[in-house]
């Protein structure tokens, strides 16, 4: 428990999906995106609810693992209610792809992955490149 909550690194997860670059989170959160292929990619409410995301560091000295709650509402990802030292933002698309940003104390990371009905998984990379790993999500309600 030493340093619990005191050294939790800021993490940004940006989850890619077919046809949408993970370098466009701002645009992705505010508008539907048309993929190069025929499928029209839009925000979806199919995954709206409370989710819990566990983050594991595979490479680097970032915390070995963390777990954050998140809320998806109208396809947009935000942090859950309560007092937190971090921020979450992102979006979920009708392909199941998701972009999530978790930030704390000016630090960040970027990831890729996908949601299905009750679970999700992907990878992430810190913005500094110092750490990377995997994430998994489970729907809580």
């Amino acid at each position: 428990m030493k340093k619990l909550g005191g050294t939790i690194a800021a993490i940004v997860l940006a989850v890619s999906f077919a046809g949408v670059s993970s370098t466009q989170p701002a645009a992705a959160q505010t508008a539907a995106v048309v993929a190069p292929a025929k499928q029209r990619i839009t925000l979806t409410r199919a995954f709206d609810g409370v989710w819990s995301v566990s983050i594991s560091t595979v490479n680097g000295s970032c915390p070995a693992s963390l777990r954050y709650p998140a809320i998806i509402s109208n396809g947009l990802v935000t942090r859950a209610d309560g007092e937190f030292g971090y921020d979450i933002s992102g979006a979920v698309y009708n392909t199941g792809g998701i972009i999530v940003t978790v930030s704390q104390n000016g630090q960040s990371a970027t990831g890729r992955g996908r949601l299905n009905r009750t679970t999700g998984a992907g990878t992430w990379l810190a913005s500094t490149g110092q750490c990377s790993g995997t994430w998994a999500a489970q729907r809580r309600s």
Partner: protein, 325 residues
Amino acid sequence: MRTHGLRGRTPRRWRKTTIPDPAAGKRPEYSVVTGVSTGALIAPFAFAGPRYDDALRDAFTKVTAADIYEAGRSGESFVDSWPLKDLIAKQITPDVLADIAAAHNSGRRLFVVTTNIDAGRPVVWNMGAIAAHASDKALGDAPLKLFRNVLLASSAIPGGFPPVLIDVEANGKKFQEMHVDGGTLDQFFVAPASALAATSDYKIPATQIYAVINTGLQPEFQVVDRNSASILTATVSAAVENDTRLMIDRVYIAAKRNEVGFNVATIPPDFKAPSRGPFDPIYMGALYQVGENLGKSATPFANQPPAYPGGPMLKSQESEKAGAQ
């Protein structure tokens, strides 16, 4: 009867068999196992026997922080412990409870300690008796739920994790007691405090006490971040370390008074594996290996409490220094 103990928030065991050859990796079947805090999570497996050794090893080396808590401060705590509650539910199955009940019915005992903060007192739960009630169909799954809740409560670090409310009934009145980490009052359980008191004439029913200490006893300098969570965590860590030393001393004195053998194993001071935050599997794996190696060594236990680092020299040490000059 011999008494075997695991330190701090780990199980303490009383045993009446001779110690098997440690180099063979075997361990005895303890007649009594006790657990406090995270030790409460290990105690059921240690009590249930070697067939659960793999589960015990996994519980120590594969569980991550994400398996224990979720970030997010509430009105009761800094984090939410629902992942730990789910983990306990997965680990403590009806089959595990049946094995514990069988051991209880054979005369062995499993105790877990929580702190009733409404009353400001420790509560020692007879977990074997709870498990034995699981076969009473009239009680439904109440014994299983109580067993799991006690384990969750025993490791609920106050302020860090939410307290656990346990339904009780007294004099016809129903009530919910608020329980938190058993380590709040004592880091490990050997006997009631009154029996360990310096003025007590209680005879501890054991011939040997074995204590295994699973918390670092060497203070480490680390600048504390200026936020409430870090300050509280650092404070609790320092208090636990100090309280553990006091408890070891207390048990040592009680053992001497009772002419009971005292044996203690601690984390070697030179163990310095880096840790990437709480419950880092790499760190925990390294620590587990150190414990396993120590257990298999010829002398896993010392017969007196570990020395305080940087403390004043003992008279014997002063004599040695004077003689050398």
